[in-house]
Symmetry: C2
Subunit: 146 residues, 2 copies
DNA sequence: GTATATGCAAAAAGTTTGCACAGTA
DNA sequence: TACTGTGCAAACTTTTTGCATATAC
């Protein structure tokens, strides 16, 4: 674990990997770290524009890619065609999405520990992170029949 | 389970849900059912064009959305910004992706049974499907150090 | 001081929509 | 026959790229 609430820790991760802590990157990281849920790239571009006027769209995209590679952010498609980004410095993220209304609930509970070990053994991978998406119908979107 | 190797079963799912089994939908379903891994929308458009000349791009997109809603297909972003589609009529899909070279391995092993029950109980969701993405470095992409 | 990163604007890529016509049930 | 679905082309949205300039270290 690399982050325990202090944003500076994250810039440390950047620097240790040989990247500079620039204004654009700060704005993106701060926004994501303060945002509890998912955001699309255009939403992040907009939010960052407010937070740090003058930061360009391209830098936001480049930063998102970088953060994803560094394992600080996860990308999910939420069952649709627009990718969304979530801050997930712990390397894993889990959510439940309603296929009716799109409501999303994030949960911590993780059942992958043992499986990860088995995958590592079986395929020789060094596991870094994972994303688990569970889909279903929330109470409000279930057929009212019986 | 809705599908055990006979493509006609899938058209049955369509019809039962009130949709027609058209040429465009057949082409998309057949392609996905025969394709072991993931494909992007443009790839599917191209493949379907070969299989059934004259099928339009829009129909492919519309069919992909429909199949996703029906739970026959899963969408994943594979850690990047291009969504990919996989045939997953069983309602769940699991893969391991190398963050170095992008190599993908699909696996069956599923540890979600009990968790799904707990999520259903806790949040009142009726669970329909899930997607599990595990990221790491494959043997060829691990730092050779040590 | 120097290599890395940026902002901008333009290009490319991907997705969605409207509508007259075709095809399924 | 009635209605769902289609193909096309255009509109739109999202993402990527090239390059001169700025900036972090």
């Amino acid at each position: 674990v690399v982050y325990s609430g202090n944003i500076e820790d994250l810039f440390g991760v950047l620097r240790r990997a040989g990247y500079k802590a620039t204004r654009a990157r700060r704005a993106v990281i701060e926004f994501l770290a303060e945002t509890p849920g998912h955001a699309t790239a255009p939403e992040i571009v907009a939010a960052v524009g407010v937070r740090a006027a003058g930061v360009g769209r391209a830098s936001v995209y480049r930063t998102l890619e970088l953060l994803t590679q560094l394992g600080l952010v996860q990308v999910s498609s939420m069952g649709g065609s627009i990718p969304t980004y979530v801050f997930a410095p712990s390397g894993h993220h889990h959510h439940l999405v309603c296929t009716g209304c799109g409501k999303t609930i994030e949960f911590e509970e993780c059942v992958l520990g043992e499986l990860e070990q088995r995958l590592a053994d079986t395929f020789g991978f060094r596991i870094e992170s994972h994303l688990m998406e569970v889909f279903g119908r929330c109470p409000d979107c279930q057929p009212t029949s019986k």
